[in-house]
């Protein structure tokens, strides 16, 4: 009857139509959320896959077997240091492959074996002088290019000029392999040696002990100072302007870029106090200053969570304020403080930039044994190796990262366990 009314759009239709759109928008929004998490986690996965994929092969190393004749005519027992062990290795190689005639071919032959093999022989003779005069079969590390070839990182089917190994070297290696004189075994050098320019001789022991010394100093200084500062600010400090300034400062320091702490270390500890460069002492001091805010903030949170009834009870039975804090509050807050400290230490372990500033980036072969020896740290070693052009250092860098991440995972799990086991909810 009324044409206009039936033609007019009913409000419910608009709402239904819009509702459909709104539900779609709802679904899209939810999808974006899942997508964001998925993307972030896939980056994490990609990172782990790329590091582990590049690094796992560094835990194996290619060794070649040499039949060394410890000729008494060559080895002078009176002065082992002057014995021509490299010559001994070269002679063995020449006897093994008489087909290497020209100078160039001989040079290619010698370069198949790591330059560290002569030191290995020297050590063997030092440890066991009865070897002299005997002929022994000895496994020595292969050169890094050979190692890369057997791990499949050097393609054989490219033109000779594009390859690190020549056709002649490949031919020699094939003969060797057929004789069963090439094998891969666990790379102990990587865990026991210091840094080296030769990838097959380079290890992380030096960097690890550097990190250990640095962290030991950091822990020894930052834990007591951090806890003491937190206890004062939380339990004793009067509420006034001065304390406000201190608190603002602590919160700010927690967010100051780490490289600025490096500048501080360089200007104050090295230039002003004349402490030795590149040493764990300075590294430890700089990392202490850097981790203290983290520890103080965590310790304060932990102290805050201890209920006031504990304090009142202690004061009620006649404890002094100091006794109340040291006998009751601190023991109850300890798990939280330790958790914060471990997290701070984990951060300090992974920190690189401030250590670059104070010169812990030097090429150091010796394994540091005291706080004033020149040293590097594990993350700095990673940085140094990442800059090296050799292909073999790529896998060693990744392997060092795996070791570093393993340490961090252990420390963080420890913190989580500690929190779950001991932290009380009041």
């Amino acid at each position: 009857m009324n044409k206009e009314a039936s033609d007019a759009v009913r409000p419910i239709d608009i709402i239904t139509k819009k509702l459909h759109k709104r539900y779609k928008a709802e679904k899209r929004f939810k999808f974006y959320g899942i997508l964001a998490i998925f993307l972030s986690l896939s980056f994490l996965l990609l990172l782990f896959v790329s590091i582990i994929g590049n690094g796992y092969s560094a835990f194996l190393q290619t060794y070649v077997q040499l039949e060394i004749n410890f000729d008494p005519a060559v080895i002078d027992t009176g002065n082992l240091a002057s014995v021509n062990f490299p010559g001994l290795v070269k002679q063995t190689l020449r006897e093994k492959f008489p087909q290497a005639k020209s100078r160039k071919e001989k040079k290619q032959l010698y370069s198949l074996v790591s330059s560290g093999s002569s030191f290995q022989l020297q050590r063997m003779v030092e440890d066991n002088p009865s070897l002299i005069g005997k002929t022994e079969k000895i496994w020595v590390p292969a050169d890094d290019d050979v190692d890369m070839l057997f791990k499949g990182y050097i393609a054989r089917d490219v033109p000779e000029s594009d390859r690190r190994l020549t056709d002649f070297q490949l031919q020699l290696l094939d003969t060797w392999e057929q004789e069963g004189k090439i094998k891969k075994q666990f790379n102990t050098t990587f865990f026991t040696a210091g840094d080296s320019r030769e990838p097959e001789l380079a290890g992380i022991m030096g960097a690890m002990s550097g990190s250990l010394l640095t962290l030991a100093l950091t822990l020894a200084l930052s834990f007591p100072i951090g806890v003491a500062a937190a206890v004062y600010l939380e339990e004793f400090a009067p509420r006034n302007r001065w304390i406000d300034i201190v608190e603002v400062n602590i919160n700010n320091l927690a967010a100051v870029p780490s490289i600025v702490f490096g500048l501080l270390g360089l200007a104050v500890f090295i230039n002003f106090f004349n402490l030795p460069r590149s040493t764990p002492v300075v590294g430890g001091l700089v990392l202490t200053i850097m981790t203290l805010p983290v520890i103080i903030i965590a310790s304060r949170a932990s102290l805050q969570s201890v209920p006031p009834s504990i304090r009142e009870a202690a004061l009620g039975v006649g404890a002094s304020k100091m006794q109340m804090v040291f006998h009751h509050v601190i023991p109850l807050a300890m798990p939280g403080m330790l958790t914060g400290t471990i997290i701070g230490m984990a951060r300090a372990l992974g920190e690189t930039a401030p250590l670059l500033m104070i010169g812990m980036v030097a090429f150091i072969v010796d394994i540091p044994s005291s706080f004033t020896d020149p040293a590097t740290a594990l993350p700095v070693q990673i940085f140094l190796w990442a800059d090296s052009p050799e292909r073999a250092f790529v896998e060693r860098t990744s392997a060092a990262i795996i070791v570093l991440l393993a340490f961090l995972i252990v420390m963080n799990s420890l913190a989580v366990i500690l929190r779950n086991r001991f932290e009380r909810r009041w």
């Binding site: 974006y32 959320g33 980056f43 100072i225 004062y232 490289i259």
Partner: protein, 462 residues
């Protein structure tokens, strides 16, 4: 006596002091009919003796160690022959270094002159005298204080109050660390920066368009004169941080929204710690990842599309930095989103809003100040981030807006200018401190604003 042995002796002495003090307190207690007649518990008498034994001696030890080297060096210099003493300062320092190297048995540059060798002998002599004197002074002091305190112990000595006072002083001293660190940072970068600005005017530094800090060290050397216009460095920093924020803010914010508003408990318990792993990975690892995996990947894509992509593109560094910052943005936003009262959501639902509309029109606007604060903190992190850009971004300061080209950042320049050998009066080295000062000021301002905003916001809903 070596310093380690000295410290160990000192600790042993203070342990002995503790026992002596405690025992004396007990003996007084027995004489007067029980320890309850003493002013404090016997432990405090022991602690008081131990503290008096160790603390003054340790203080002297530290002061001695700090000044020993410079005092000995001064004595050595004043004993050197006239013609060496009057050398310019840099040459004199080399001579002193030679002497020190000779003392510690290191390799010495060039051949050793007899007077240098003599000076080294003298140095060794002085060092052993100083060591001996220090040992004697410290041990005498420690033993004397044990004896004095031991004599002073009697039932009316207020040992607990003394010990507590010493503890309070220690606690206060520890709490001032933050102030001293801040002062230390400001002074250490400020002085060097002022020296830099005496050579290079501030206006040239802040508004100059050309950055090439390599300069001739000697006057007769061929080399550029050095240009210190920091604009290309700033734009590079801004570009990389900007790319990082473009990656991190949407991903971090959406993750936080999903985790706090949609996800069930189980998913949240798994995804949140996994996301936080991203924050725990050392930056050097991200740097290696960027240089090894992401940068070649981006270059390959670019080349296949016919673009000219640098192998150290800003895009690669920014992308990886963004990944690193995701957990900061997400956990800070998570906190503030959770702080929005449930009543506000319920109100929106009651009016018929869908969850996404509630989030977009109620929750996020309510949480916005907190989110902005979190993002500002993330920006300050991105600006100060060092290792990723050192390993994946370039060294050359290009003034460009193209993210596929190599740019450099403030932190990269600080590292390249300060790593390696350096002299402390060249503008090149001082430039690093000027950049450091700028970095500190900018991050400080960002942090203060962010912390203020976050705190203000938290109070609003508490």
């Amino acid at each position: 006596m070596s310093s380690t042995a000295l410290i160990i002796t000192l600790l042993a002495l203070s342990v002995i002091g503790y026992h002596l003090g405690r025992k004396r307190a007990f003996s007084f207690g027995e004489r007067s009919g029980g320890v309850r007649f003493l002013h404090s518990r016997p432990v405090y008498y022991g602690l008081l003796t131990a503290l008096w034994c160790a603390v003054p001696a340790l203080l002297i030890f530290t002061i001695w160690q700090v000044f020993e080297t410079s005092i000995i060096s001064n004595i050595i210099v004043s004993d050197l022959p006239e013609q060496i003493r009057t050398l310019p300062e840099s040459r004199l320092n080399l001579v002193i270094n030679d002497i020190k190297n000779l003392v510690s048995g290191n390799i010495v540059s060039g051949d050793i002159k007899p007077e240098i060798r003599q000076a080294a002998e003298h140095y060794k002599n002085l060092q052993s005298i100083s060591n001996g004197a220090l040992s004697v002074i410290i041990i005498t002091l420690a033993v004397a204080s044990i004896f004095l305190i031991w004599r002073k112990i009697n039932p009316t000595l207020r040992a607990r109050n003394h010990v507590e006072k010493i503890f309070t002083v220690f606690l206060i001293a520890c709490s001032t660390f933050a102030i001293f660190t801040t002062i230390g940072i400001v002074l250490s970068v400020l002085f060097e920066a002022i020296r830099f600005f005496k050579v290079v005017p501030v206006t040239e530094f802040i508004f100059g368009l050309d950055w090439s800090p390599q300069m001739a060290i000697r006057a007769d050397q061929v080399g550029s004169s050095g240009a210190f216009g920091a604009i290309p460095v700033f734009t590079g920093t801004l570009m990389i941080s900007g790319i990082a924020m473009i990656v991190a803010v949407p991903l971090g914010l959406m993750s936080a929204i999903y985790l706090s508003e949609y996800a069930n408990k189980g998913f949240r318990a798994v995804a949140k710690p996994l996301l936080e792993i991203l924050a725990g990975i050392p930056t050097v690892v991200y740097g290696f990842f960027a240089a090894l995996t992401i940068a070649p990947f981006i270059r390959d894509i670019g080349v296949s599309m016919g673009l000219d992509v640098s192998s150290e593109s800003a895009l690669a560094a920014g992308l990886v930095m963004g990944i690193m910052i995701i957990p900061f943005v997400s956990s800070l936003s998570d906190d503030v989103i959770n702080a929005v009262p449930q009543a506000m959501r319920d109100g929106a639902y009651a009016l018929g809003a869908t969850p996404s509309e509630t989030i977009k029109q109620v929750v996020v606007p309510a949480a916005l100040p907190g989110i902005v604060g979190g993002v500002l903190l993330a920006v300050s992190r991105a600006i100060g981030e060092t290792m990723i850009v050192v390993m994946a971004a370039g060294l050359a300061a290009n003034l460009t807006a193209n993210p596929l080209q190599a740019v450099t950042t403030v932190t990269v320049q600080i590292v390249t200018l300060l790593v390696g050998d350096q002299e402390f009066d060249s503008p090149k080295t001082l430039a690093a401190f000027a950049l450091g000062l700028l970095l500190f000021i900018v991050t400080l301002i960002l942090n203060i604003i962010a912390l203020y905003v976050v705190r203000k916001y938290r109070e609003q809903y508490e």
